[in-house]
């Protein structure tokens, strides 16, 4: 075992807000990770993906002490697969469960390679229907990206108007479970700790129109 801490802590990070990404971390360092970029295969992939990262890290499920899950935003159907899997993995393994906004993980990846960035960083992901999910960041504090606005969903033109006059950096990096796990790790070092909120960030109401009595035969 590569980690020699007297009190080993292993985290399983899961995000299905875009593709399927799963990682195992120990105290913020990544032991194993799989990334399936394609959308639509979340429910097929999720079981084997978890089994693979555990096997690659030479851990059994009982070794996992924390499960970190991406809360989105992202296309709903896929997003829920990760949230459902994280909940039941935590119950089955007895691990604690924490939630992270998926866009924070993307911002984290950006700041990893651009630590000196001083301009506001705009993270966007595809929200379909010609809209984007977005959040705005102003840097990092103790390793954690500082989100100053969002997550929200907007038409790109509306977002552009909203941010007019600001010199923002656009960031469209892919989300990785390793970054998600690292955000949670740095959060755990702060007074606040990682968030216990694991509810999905849908940001949109379901599409449905209340029924009214109408002509059926027409």
């Amino acid at each position: 075992m590569s980690v020699t801490s007297t009190n080993p802590e292993y985290a399983l990070a899961i995000d299905t807000s875009a593709g399927t990404t799963v990682a195992v971390l120990s105290l913020g360092s990544v032991l194993s990770e799989v990334n399936y970029l394609e959308p639509m295969t979340h429910s097929e992939r999720i079981g084997s993906a978890i089994e693979k990262v555990l096997g690659d890290a030479k851990l059994s499920p009982g070794d996992i002490t924390e499960v970190i899950v991406g809360r989105g935003p992202g296309p709903f159907t896929g997003l829920r697969v990760g949230l459902a899997a994280a909940r039941y993995f935590a119950i089955g393994s007895g691990a604690k469960l924490f939630g992270v906004c998926s866009l924070d993980a993307i911002a984290y990846s950006y700041y990893q390679t651009n630590p000196e960035e001083v301009r506001p960083v705009l993270v966007t992901t595809d929200a379909r229907r010609q809209e984007v999910f977005w959040a705005l960041y102003s840097g990092t504090k103790n390793g954690v990206p500082i989100r100053v606005e969002g997550p929200s969903v907007s038409k790109p033109a509306v977002l552009e108007d909203h941010l007019a006059g600001q010199d923002v950096i656009n960031c469209e990096l892919p989300i990785t479970a390793s970054a998600l796990g690292q955000v949670a790790y740095y959060q755990s070092l702060t007074d606040l700790g990682p968030s216990l909120d694991v509810t999905p960030l849908y940001l949109r109401e379901p599409d449905a129109v209340p029924a009214k009595p109408k002509k059926v035969s027409g």
């Binding site: 979340h42 999720i46 079981g47 829920r80 697969v81 039941y88 379901p206 599409d207 059926v216």
Partner: protein, 500 residues
């Protein structure tokens, strides 16, 4: 095919070696090693025979007074696998180890032998270590596995079932054929203002309900997750987004607990519900499944191997027709109970509404199929015409006449299926079975035709996790291998695909 298990003899050595070299091509034991294994005083070897020929063997090693036993080897000829021989051999080895006081059993298995690993998981084995490049000359790693509870493997398996195919989040727990818990959280109320199930609302509700429903089911059954032998989950047919919530959760639960998983068919689950009520399923039987999502007529000869779709709706499900007609009549959602209530004081022959697909020309092609779209339109026309002409129309009469048309066609076609196939048994399932007139009509028609009628209690007729657990338990008891972890949620899964 039947097989017998007996103690191994020295005289079996030739046949054992033939199987050994067939199964373990590059790392077979030598004849000398095998012979000393068979003859040693601390080992226990069994063989399986089919028609006088050896088809498999297995053995353990356990020193006198030791509480630890080791599984030394197990092999079944490739053309004899899948018939439960490996499981039976292990079962007998377990019994012997238990007799000799074993508390733990260990084994090593090739990391690339997933078939054997699945079998071991069924017996409660979990991986506790890894031996790098243990198998030579292939250089393959060995998993070291252990089971610490010597399970009474003859006992009925404890199976947890997860159902999320429509608007009910159901988790049930069964022990063999016995129901221990059946917890359902329905999002029905959330759909009422939309007049029908909204898939996205149903899927959101499943995610919220998963945790509490699991907790309540375990508490009602008074068992812990550790004691569960296997997990079963609906992987179709149903609403795709809803199914995926259950599938994702079930896979993660299986991986985190090391339990085998069975992906099972929702419609066949409805049939397995009757096992929990009766303690058994009598086959062959015709089954009529009627709900808001399905209207299917099935011929069940064997619930695990032979379920045939005779017919189904070609447009709306019967439950959907109730919902739509309720809207036309200004009644609330779900329409079934509301129409049932309104129909009580109505005259079922006040209006002669059409019976879909019952004309001679339709019966030739769609003998066992259903259609409710024309019926719904006919009801709407009747109501609208009365409105246009400013005539009073009796809602109880319309409700009773509509209900009679639905029930008439459902039961007549089911009875025809029974008589055509000379199967004097009809099983009902699905939420629409709650309809009082449907049950009454089924009883009288079955009695008139000498057909035995089975109606499970309503809590087992509506979508539920117990029926999924029940089907999983049947698969497990029959020796079926668990599903691979890569199965998908399939919204249009065929009823012939009983396990995925």
């Amino acid at each position: 095919m039947s097989f017998i298990i007996r103690g191994a003899l020295s005289a079996d050595l030739d046949q054992i070696m033939a199987i050994e070299t067939e199964c373990f091509v590059n790392d077979a034991w030598s004849r000398e090693v095998m012979q000393s294994e068979l003859e040693a005083s601390h080992t226990y070897y069994l063989v399986a025979e089919v028609e006088g020929n050896l088809v498999g063997y297995a053995g353990t090693s356990q020193l006198a007074d030791s509480v630890q036993a080791d599984i030394q080897t197990i092999a079944v000829r490739p053309n004899q696998r899948g018939a439960g021989i490996g499981r039976a051999l292990l079962n007998e080895l377990f019994k012997d180890a238990k007799r000799k006081g074993a508390k733990e059993i260990f084994l090593e298995v090739r990391s690339d032998n997933t078939i054997a690993q699945k079998l071991y998981k069924l017996f409660g084995f979990k991986q506790i270590g890894l031996r790098k490049q243990y198998y030579q000359p292939d250089g393959v790693d060995a998993f070291v596995m252990k089971t610490s509870i010597i399970k009474d493997v003859d006992a009925k398996p404890l199976v947890l079932g997860i159902e999320t195919s429509c608007d009910e989040t159901g988790i049930g727990i069964v022990r063999g054929n016995e129901l221990l818990a059946n917890v359902i959280s329905s999002s029905m109320d959330l759909h009422s203002r939309f007049g029908g199930v909204v898939p996205e609302i149903a899927a959101r509700a499943h995610l919220e309900a998963l945790g509490p429903v699991l907790e309540e089911a375990l508490s009602k059954a008074n068992v812990s997750l550790e004691e569960i032998d296997a997990i079963a989950v609906t992987n179709g047919p149903g609403l795709a987004g809803a199914l995926m919530v259950g599938v994702g959760a079930a896979k993660a639960l299986a991986v985190s607990t090391g339990k085998p998983i069975y992906a099972v068919n929702h419609l066949v689950g409805h049939i397995a519900a009757d096992i929990l009520d009766q303690g058994k399923l009598v086959t062959p039987t015709i089954a009529l499944l009627v709900s808001g999502g399905h209207t299917s007529l099935l011929l069940v000869r064997d619930i695990l191997n032979d379920v045939q779709l005779l017919g189904e709706t070609i447009d709306d499900a019967a439950g959907e027709a109730f919902d739509k007609v309720a809207r036309v009549l200004g009644l609330s959602y779900p329409g079934g109970p509301e129409i049932d209530k309104a129909a009580q004081s109505g005259n079922p022959s006040a209006f002669r509404f059409p019976r879909g697909l019952t004309l001679p020309k339709d019966m030739a092609e769609h003998r066992y199929d259903f259609s409710f779209s024309g019926l719904k339109t006919a009801v709407a026309r009747t109501v609208e015409l009365a409105e246009t002409n400013n005539e009073e129309i009796s809602i109880p009469d319309v409700a009773a006449s509509f209900r009679e048309a639905v029930v008439d066609v459902l039961i007549k076609k089911a009875i025809a299926a029974c008589l055509d196939h000379d199967i004097r048994r009809l099983l009902l399932g699905g939420g629409v079975i709650a309809n009082a007139r449907l049950r009454e009509y089924a009883m009288s028609e079955c009695a008139a035709n000498g057909i035995e009628l089975r109606i499970p209690p309503l809590s087992l007729c509506t979508d539920n996790g117990a029926m999924i657990a029940s089907l999983g338990a049947q698969l497990l008891m029959a020796g079926n291998e668990p599903s691979s972890l890569d199965f998908s949620a399939d919204s249009t899964l065929s009823v012939t695909q009983i396990q995925s």
